[in-house]
Symmetry: none
Subunit: 217 residues, 4 copies
DNA sequence: AATGAATGAGAATTCATTCAT
DNA sequence: GATGAATGAATTCTCATTCAT
């Protein structure tokens, strides 16, 4: 059974790490506060208080506040994303979707679930993308890797089969990502828990995208 | 001739205001710095320096740094957006688009141009949406107004004419906005100037959306 | 009349500067505390308190504590020392000492007075020489300039006249400085005011040095 | 054969002590770091790292950082200095220098070697003298003991024999120390290893001092 | 209106020291 | 004895804001 729940991944990845319990608490508290208030508006004393540790402890391991942010985002970028991505890719490879619509629906639902499970990390990540042009470039690279990788190949195969119209792989992914994000962004940004019927919404999105993407005579 | 260039609107709107030249410089400098570095990371002394005024002057009119941000975003929300929107609505009304595709293409190109012209304001705005849940609600309200307003009516008319498939007005707008944003967001976030062929891209987006939205048998 | 009183020079040099009264107080307080307790053991709040200003003011102009130290030592090195040195050199040139012993006595008394007048600066300076190898090199350079400059020439002239024995100019200066310092160092280091009969001590030192340096058959 | 090599003395004295190997490493690392960076600028974690022990170990024996400094300087003052001094005194007594110049040369060379061998300790010591007025007084006491002790007696004997001119024992020692220090101080302060021809320099210094100190008609 | 020196509350960070294991 | 995570008081430094001129 697949584990693309990033929150779970996050918790387990920090548990597996060499970090002490208190240091893990520091990371968890930081994630929560950075997501709620933003990086700049979060003070080290707030982190210490929420984590239930002294202020010294906040800096013992991560040296600076920026260091905490990096400790939160590095595994998210270098570990969690690729890990989920690989899992996702193998899933795609094994299930041998002969039907583009099934494939698309699977992808959309999968990413929606991922986003719902990783709201906090994604919000911090989004903040950082805006704050930091380097982060933006890093995503562009990951994006190109996706297109050049197995996902791009799968899409190309569907194009060859005539299930996708005359449209570049790039655009297929851009539009798909865009539609998925249009559902998720309000839920990521809003701190409130908005209800979300993932089954219905993923079908709705799939239907629209299929019409937009498939071959038209 | 239409003026939906927000930068021009911004400059002219602050020129028309009762603000002294120095105060106008403060606003311009703040906009540039907030867009570049974010609100929190911009110090009042940086604003003073870029505006070529003393630190005291920065606070003379706007009292607080938050006040400057509001002075930048209030007209953007309450003035510039509606003004462009009205203009846009009357344009739509007068031109009497009988063809949904022409209408869609007009809308998309118009909004793309708007985004290109207002990159700085939009970046500050996007930051603020993430930072501030109130801002998020405010947009939701504007969004509902749009749907309830003339634009919603126009879309409904096209649906009645059978030019749009069985899809809610909400979704039509969500998908359209989403696709347009997928083109603009990278250009808004990146501080670099990326080239953009608005004619080609707006046609490309229109074509995809038409396929996705139109009636299918 | 000559002004080789460095404390006076210090006060007047900071008065002449563009510094506000409060900033001058910060420098004065820092000098006193650095001399008394050392640079590292002096806190910014102590400086603020002694200067009668807020802690913010301490950093407004000089940015860092290190910046204050530099603001204290730079003029001492680049301004006060050369200024006194030039004055001293012209004094030597105009008075045309035909007698080496008179010359030596003049020099010794002059430097003793200088040291008594600049106890605080010298103590901070001495601390910094030990702390900072760069400072040490800087002195070596100043020292070489002295030997290559007019003072070296004067000594050489006395050697040609047979009033100084077979001993290098370097050594003449090393021994002279060393003997003068042996009188002054205890008074610079000790925070207490030790009495000092400059007339008697300068004569005593001169007599010893004359015997050591003059030509022996 | 005499052992006035303080580094050796230091190493052997801490080996002889009841300290564990790790505690000895702490002392050695502290000495190195205090000499290089100064006492205040050396952190306990630096000491731990250089000593190859945990931070806890640094404080296990010596309780405080100040305690480490005292552990370094106490034996230097109370043990090493007197020990060398006694050795030196007995050397003086047994060799029965009938010639003041030989005696002076012996003393100078001996002290120069001592300084070269104890550069680190001396640098820490010098720092501490400046930082701490108590340390200054302590030296004054040791100095007086020297004068009142055997060395003073030896000098007085030479004066009675007419080999030293009309000059106080105090001055004889002040001038001698001063000249020796003028050679050694640059080598103690500079962290770099400067070459030093002890044979030539000690002769040079002796010659100068002899001329300055001996009876003149 | 404008200035810019001054403020002081608060933020990040450091580090000697402690203590449970 | 040794460890090293944790502490928290102290320290440097920042910066929005004020106010006398």
């Amino acid at each position: 059974m697949k584990i693309n729940n990033v929150e779970t991944l996050f918790d387990s990845s920090i548990s597996e790490s060499e970090l002490s319990v208190k240091q893990q608490e520091v990371l968890k508290a930081s994630l929560t506060l950075f997501a709620q208030q933003g990086f700049e508006s979060t003070t080290s004393s707030q982190i210490a208080e929420l984590a239930g540790v002294s202020e010294g402890t906040v800096f013992k391991k991560f040296k600076t506040k920026q260091g905490i942010l990096e400790a939160l985002l590095r595994p998210f970028i270098e570990n969690v994303i690729p890990r989920v991505m690989n899992e996702f890719e193998s899933e795609v490879a094994t299930n041998e979707y002969s039907d583009f619509e099934s494939f698309l629906h699977y992808i959309i639902k999968d990413r929606m679930q991922f986003a719902l499970d990783s709201k906090k990390q994604l919000k911090v990540f989004v903040q950082e993308i805006i704050r930091n042009p380097e982060m933006f470039k890093l995503i562009a690279v990951k994006w190109d890797e996706l297109i050049a990788g197995r996902i791009g190949q799968v899409i190309n195969r569907f194009k060859e089969k005539g299930q996708i119209g005359d449209i570049s792989t790039d655009q297929v992914m851009q539009y798909t990502a865009s539609i998925v994000l249009s559902y998720m962004i309000p839920r990521i940004i809003s701190n409130a828990d908005m209800s979300f019927d993932i089954e219905q919404k993923s079908l709705e999105a799939t239907k629209f995208l299929m019409n937009g993407l498939r071959k038209h005579d």
